[in-house]
Amino acid sequence: MKAGFTPATVLALTCGFAFLYLPILLLVAFSFNESRLVTVWGGFSLKWYGEMLRNRQLMDAAWVTVRIGLVSASLALVLGTLAGVTLARFTRFPGRTVFSGLVFAPLVMPEVITGLSLLLLFVSLDWARGFWTVAVAHTTFASAYVAVIVQSRLLTFDIILEEAAMDLGASPLKTFFVITLPVIAPALVSGWLLAFTLSLDDLVVASFTTGPGATTLPMRIYSQVRLGVTPEINAVSTVLIGFVTLGVITATLIQKRRFADGQKRKA
């Protein structure tokens, strides 16, 4: 029974991936449907994309969402990297248990709790709710994901390289920038991308922490979805899915190329 495809594994893969992809593909297909009805194919049309571009509220929300994503992903990258380095490299310091708890808990915390608790914090600090409160909220949960990615990359990377650099007189800061950073760079790229998509995607936490003038795209989509399926939302979804797919494929290819380069250099 060596590695290879057998009828059973092919069946499992086909069913599994059909389940994962059919709903998305149907959604994409019906965004090009002339008819407003979901089950009736009225011919190919791009009219819902036109409607989408003319919908000011939707476009404004998309712009707000992108800006929040850029800010929070960048902040989360810095905080998450620091946290990941701490978890992977500093095994002993007071409060380590609490620290790792604080890093891992946001990964599984139900969103309603995170959202409610952050809102109450902002109210008691008397911060005006809007763009920045959503950005801070997103930074908080996204940095946990970045930390986990950076930590696992650091754990597979030989600490001897860092020790050698420091033995040769490099300061810890210099060692980080010259040795560690280039090695974990792919992890940082995926961490940033993940933080960005998490922020683009979030409905619950944003709904709690937002204020006037900072309605995000998921909030707009949600309020329209509650009223029923509309081809316009299918069009928006298709655009989002397209962007994300391109991003993930690019990131994977970059990482693969780097890996291949590394193998070549080793050989």
Binding site: M1, A3, G4, F5, T9, A12, L13, Y21, P23, L26, L27, F30, V38, L82, A83, T86, A88, F90, F99, S100, G101, L102, F104, L107, V108, M109, P110, E111, V112, I113, L116, S117, L118, L120, L121, V136, A137, T139, S143, L155, G169, A170, S171, P172, L173, K174, F177, V178, L194, T197, L203, S207, I221, Y222, L240, I241, V244, T245, V248, I249
Partner: protein
């Protein structure tokens, strides 16, 4: 990037053991006051580097993750009032006869209501039940998929792995929304089934618990597949071969060897699905019916529709208490994984 100027080749000529980036920086750039300031900053960073690296995320998470829970806890004991913000202060100065007293008004009525009103009790139990059943169903779908992925030829695995991760990157809301069009009475599934002659009347799936199960399994499947796949991949396939050669039926070999070995991955996957699913809001709201009571949705309604912040806080605290055991288990698991990986 403050470390950048320090990368001049100078220190590599004779790297004294005590040379710090600061000294190099100062030697090469002391003519410019801007770099002088930068150099002093780098020096300060290097002296307090470790503390700073730990302190920055610690403070951030302390302020924006830990402190908010204390506020939720505090608020869950206060009274609802018609004001902005809509709750009464817990601690107040009371002025009486020219004297002022510090008063603390601990109000337990929110919690009492939660345990007396059968609506909330049912919502809690329902959430735990739906989440548990959905976790089991997710596991049933994930096990064969992860197993097949780990058996695929090596050059296929990266692609398969990417295909599992890709849906996880696309919007959660959109993936839940996609199912509305499929499951609704005049939706795609019913159209196909009626077209094939399997059924004559459309099935009612949308707005029932079944739709919620489908939604959870679909949305959380990657969380289950990835850790299980990771443990399958490390497994030596000759173990199964040996068992089958010795006369064990393949199904039995799968359960006694494969599943046993993948147990850490299975546990991690189950926790990653169960905990967030128990507090899920979007799936029961969009796919579930009005009878699908789940606590995340109850919290949302109390907060946004009834504007009862203290009651919503009490719901959050009880939910958190119910999830404490699985969350602590998950963290132990993560910490142990980190520890052993680091040692190896």
């Amino acid at each position: 990037m403050s470390g950048q100027p320090a990368q001049t080749p100078a220190p590599y000529v004779s790297p004294g053991p005590q040379t710090t980036a600061f000294e190099v920086l100062e030697r090469t750039t002391s003519a410019f006051s801007f770099y002088g300031v930068l150099a002093r900053f780098v020096q300060w960073l290097e002296r307090s580097g470790r503390t700073l690296v730990i302190a920055l995320p610690f403070l951030w998470l302390g302020l924006f993750f830990l402190a908010p829970f204390l506020i939720v806890l505090k608020l869950s004991f206060s009274e609802t009032v018609l004001a902005v913000p809509p709750y009464a202060p817990l601690v107040a100065w009371l002025e009486e006869n020219g004297l002022s007293y510090l008063t603390v008004r601990l109000n337990l009525s929110n919690y009492l209501l939660l345990f007396e009103d059968s609506l909330y009790v049912r919502a809690f139990l329902n959430s735990l039940r739906i989440s548990a059943v959905a976790t089991f169903l997710t596991l049933c779908v994930a096990l064969p998929l992860a197993n097949a992925m780990s058996r695929a030829p090596e050059r296929w695995r990266a692609l398969l792995l990417m295909m599992v991760i890709l849906p996880f990157w696309t919007s959660f809301l959109i993936r839940v929304y996609a199912w509305i069009g499929i499951l609704k009475p005049e939706g795609i599934l019913n159209a196909v089934l009626i077209g094939l002659g399997v059924i004559s009347e459309p099935l009612t799936i949308l707005n029932t618990d079944i739709a919620v199960y489908i939604g959870i399994v679909y949305s959380y499947l990657p969380f289950m597949v990835l850790p299980i796949y990771a443990s399958f991949e490390k497994m030596d396939p000759s173990l199964i071969e040996a068992a089958v050669d010795l006369g064990s039926p393949p199904i039995k070999a799968f359960w006694t060897i494969t599943v046993r070995i993948a147990l850490p991955g299975i546990i991690a996957g189950c926790l990653l699905v169960f905990i967030p699913a128990a507090g899920e809001f979007v799936i029961p709201d969009l796919l579930g019916g009005s009878e699908t009571l789940m606590i995340g949705r109850t919290l949302w309604l109390e907060f946004f529709n009834n504007r009862d912040w203290p009651l919503a806080s009490a719901v959050a605290i009880v939910l958190l208490a119910a999830l404490t055991v699985p969350i602590v288990l998950f963290q132990r698991h993560q910490a142990r994984r980190g520890g052993t990986d680091g040692a190896s």
